[in-house]
């Protein structure tokens, strides 16, 4: 890969990442349903991660199979969320009061 492709414009990637970060921060103030904000934030994060992997890590210029290796943890992690949700979240619960820690003196 060392000479197999022209270098991407890294400053352009940087600018995209910067703008996407600004959008992410702006999104949390938009007055819409929480679910929409969650979907927007996760999508934006995935786009940013893809930019980093594709250009900074040169994945776009590598063998396709290498991208499959890189994508495996994403697939497994997504699966894991659905495996874990019934485990801990079947009944929504609060932390017992005895477990809560009082704020230190001088702080609210």
């Amino acid at each position: 890969m060392a000479d197999g492709h022209a270098s991407p414009n890294y400053w352009l990637i940087f600018l995209c990442l910067f703008i996407l970060t600004v959008i992410e921060i702006a999104v949390i103030f938009v007055p819409v349903a929480k679910l929409l904000i969650v979907i927007a934030l996760v999508s934006l994060a995935l786009v940013k991660a893809t930019l980093v992997a594709a250009y900074f890590m040169h994945l776009r210029f590598e063998a396709r199979t290498l991208a499959l290796i890189a994508l495996t943890p994403l697939a497994l992690g997504t699966l894991l969320i659905f495996i874990l949700i019934p485990d801990h979240s079947a009944v929504s619960h609060k932390t017992a009061d005895s477990v809560k820690v009082a704020p230190p003196a001088g702080h609210r």
Partner: protein, 208 residues
Amino acid sequence: MSQVETMHPGTEPAESPLTPESWGKLGMWIFLAGDAMGFGTLLAAYGAMRFGSADWPSPYHRLGINLTAFMTFLLICTSVTMVKGLEGVKNGKRGTAQIYLLLTIIGGAGFLGLQAYEWTNLINEGLKVFGNPWGASLFGTTFFVITGFHGLHVTGGVIYLSVMLVLVSKPTTALGTGWTYNVVEISGLYWHFVDLVWIMVFTFIYLL
């Protein structure tokens, strides 16, 4: 077929199948996939615990995002300096490679310093690993475990890149597109991965 026939039985193929220029790169990718699974597990567990909690504190109000937004920016900058450093190695410009690698290391160290500052403030406000004044005790547990695990990776990266800086600085190290380029590129893969993970951590822990 002719290649296979001429090979001695039992010998390793000379070329890595996915990354023809080096086996190390394939090794780093496989390591990173495993490492990503570690972070993926932590974040998935975090999601499930938060989803099941009725009194999860608001991260935006308790953790604050001004400082961490700047830390995100800093880490993205170091990813750019890293690729610029690698370009320096490729073009045989030792000085350029040194300056950009040094900037990357300084950025990484700066990130760690800011994280230490952030942790100190939060601990003073009452955020502990086993509890906090605001709600679900797991809020603190997941925060310290996940950001701590990432911070350890940054620490490792700063040490790793320092070794690369020493290597590139040696007058006897040949620059260009050969071995040195491969080795520095592999270290860059690790560093960009740390940046990539922070993008996820920033989103899930601070913004959501």
